[in-house]
């Protein structure tokens, strides 16, 4: 299991292939080199923005790819392990296979696209932390597991298929879109932000109540939604004299 925190446009910028191969990566407590696991060809761009990285090969056991990057692009022609794009600030990541858990953890900007499935804790906060994803876009073409957008503050997460449980738990902002079904626990302890669920929620939380039906645009298409507000068990702040709630838009039958 290799920690690929050096696999970023920021780390590769201004370096030759030989220098890139010397970049560090942990395996357990030992510090190894990228060259121990990858063959590197090509040079980094002048800046991170000019640097495009393409990885061929099975990265199922390579963690932290593209973490903390600020610009440029990383493409993986296969799967990736945990923490893809963790703490990223900008640039683009494209995983053509599946991803493991904790992708986009505490993300601040940029785009993360996954053609396959993600596991758990998508665009989440670090465990125990109350400050989650602040910005950027995560799009997963497949399904995801549990804990999407925990403690989310901003940005957008789009899951094109299904999600399991815990969407936007403790969130204070941001937008989560699940186009398939969600098992339940959507918007638990959420005080602000939006969720769009196009499929079914198997178990609704009791802290949400339906207020009206609205037409809204969701990722380019307009639908009719049942509009719920919540989480009513929480302390809600005011903005311009109006109480602010989290909004759950559930596609009308």
């Amino acid at each position: 299991m290799f920690e690929g925190y050096s696999i970023t446009p920021d780390a590769f910028a201004g370096k030759t292939a030989a220098q890139i191969a010397e970049l560090p990566g942990h395996e357990g407590k030992f510090v190894l080199k990228l060259g121990d696991f990858f063959t590197v060809s090509g040079n980094g761009g002048d800046t991170a923005a000019d640097t495009d990285i393409v990885i061929a090969g099975d990265c199922t056991r390579v963690k932290y790819i593209g973490s903390k990057m600020t610009a440029g692009s990383v493409t993986v022609n296969g799967n990736a392990d945990m923490y893809v794009g963790g703490w990223m600030k900008g640039g683009k990541i494209h995983i053509k296979g599946n991803m493991d858990s904790f992708c986009g953890i505490q993300m601040e900007g940029g785009e993360l696209l996954c053609d396959g499935d993600a596991k758990n804790h998508v665009g989440c906060a670090y465990r125990g932390d109350w400050r989650g994803m602040k910005g950027g876009l995560i799009r997963i073409k497949g399904s995801a597991g549990n804990d999407i957008g925990t403690a989310m503050l901003g940005g957008t997460i789009i899951i094109e298929k299904d999600a399991f449980i815990h969407v936007s738990t403790h969130a204070e902002g941001g937008t989560v879109i699940v186009k398939g079904d969600v098992e339940g626990r959507v918007g638990g302890q959420m005080v602000k932000g939006e969720m769009y669920i196009l499929g079914k929620i198997k178990f609704m939380l009791p802290g949400y109540k339906k207020v009206d039906q609205v037409q809204k645009e969701c990722d380019g298409t307009t639908y009719t939604f049942d509009h719920y507000i919540g989480d009513l068990g929480e302390r809600h702040g005011k903005s311009k004299g109006q109480v602010v709630y989290a909004n759950l838009y559930l596609k009308a039958a």
């Binding site: 407590k29 510090v31 906060a125 670090y126 465990r127 125990g128 932390d129 109350w130 302390r235």
Partner: protein, 576 residues
Amino acid sequence: MTSGEIIVKGGFVIDPTRKINGDVGDVAIKDGKIVDKVSSSAKVIDAKGKVVMAGGVDIHSHVAGPKVNAGRLMRPEDKLRSGVCLSGMAQKNGYRMESGFSIPSVFKTGYDYARMGYSFVMEAAMPPLLAPHVHEEIHDTPIIDEAALPVFGNNWFVMEYLKKGEVENTAAYIAWLLKVTKGYGVKVVNPGGTAAWAWGLNCLSLDDAVPYFEITPGEIIKGLMEANEYLGLPHSIHLHQNNLGNPGNYPDTLAALKIAEGVKANNKFGRQTVLHSTHLQFHSYGGEGWKDFCSKSKEVMDYVNKQKNITFDLGCVTLDETTTMTADGPFEHHLHGLNHLKWTNVDVEMETAAGIVPYIYDKNVLPNAIQWATGLELALFAKDMDRAFITTDHPNAGPFTRYPRVIKWLMSKKAREATLATMKNSDKVINATYIHGIDRELTLYEIAQMTRSGPAQCLGLAKTYGGLAPGMHGDVSVFDLNYKNMPGDAEKIETALQRAAYFIKDGEIVVKDGEVVSHGHKKTVWVKVKMPENAQVTRDVSQAFHQGTYTVDISNYPVREYLAPHQSIIDVNVEA
């Protein structure tokens, strides 16, 4: 302890215990102790161009025990920003994992204190029922000598004895508890208020009677002070005052300090003072609410400067994201209500309470900026630097690893002004505090008083810690600072004090060039009181255990010997 000889040659020696202020000289160590001279085969440490001081003494820090560990458990994110121990030597030599920024692991605690040249740290609050846990963590903390203060200010025995005015019985109970917990002295936290918390209440002023026990905080403080001097303990009572952290609390602070008026220190350890008021920064506020919140450091120090039998430590806010943890249970509930962050509330069923809430001291939040200034002002207004000690009430106002930063601010007006200039509300901060008008810059000698000689004397440890006179522990710190040519950039002072060039502990080199090279030999220091048998107290304690009041048997209560394998016991003999 090693029988090797070391000579620290040619450094600028700063030793307030002998009034040595930067003279170039040698410090000789043999058999783990400072000696007059050593043979020519001694290992030479070249300290030319560097400052040489005794090991540091931290009088108040929360580093070992159940609430510290509860903090570690509830804050996984505290470890995310703590950095990685990548030192090759560390990996090769099997050094332990260092994690945690505001609540470090016990290993990081020992290593980081040693890197800053500290030799003694007092765990500020030990819950008696869980004293074994405190000692296990002390045992696992490498290098530094530690002691722990059991909490007495909300103890049912203490409150019942003092209500009846029975100082001698209180003293006998203190002696027993110190023995069974291997404790060092009498800690008093939010007296009465933490006991009231068992009913969801608090005691904010010295006259608020504790429910059911009907004794006031003022009476508890006075009674414990008398019992402490009756016993002649090495340390004075150590008081975390009532009404902590609230705007306008400074009159309550002065009222508590006044209790020491006329009380004489009685002990054989050289201690001159009878009351130590801890993290005084949190207790020096004016205003009636957060809108007119301001510093009253000057008013407090006008009194402290005159009253020669009290000491205090700063409790400086370092403007970091940190963790508050204290036996002031009701205060932590209040803080949770203020910042709505996660809150742990435990130990209420014991002789104390404990609350933990993360806290972000943001320089752009006006009250936090005022708190930052207040802590520094207390030191800058102090006239006797042997009665003012540097702390951050770790981790409450900031991590102990920020001591060099606090020292930088105290030694450099430019550094203070630079921090002030980064504050969004700097003009409001200036209006609410004294700091902008203070030009004073402390000297390294005064810093040595505040971190070595002063705290050692207050703890009754002046014969062994805090100085470089022959006979004292061979604990010597060498810093890369040229006393004759101090850096104009105060950042360099902070950097030099963060990583000692050398730290020698009990005659063993444990830190070299800022890196830990040995685990050394730590000691657990505690106070063993011998006094005539007090049949009343013996009976009362034994009855309490058998009546079902306690969940453990009296034979299971004491701290076992194996938990403190290297003890340094201070004997106190009380005549009849």
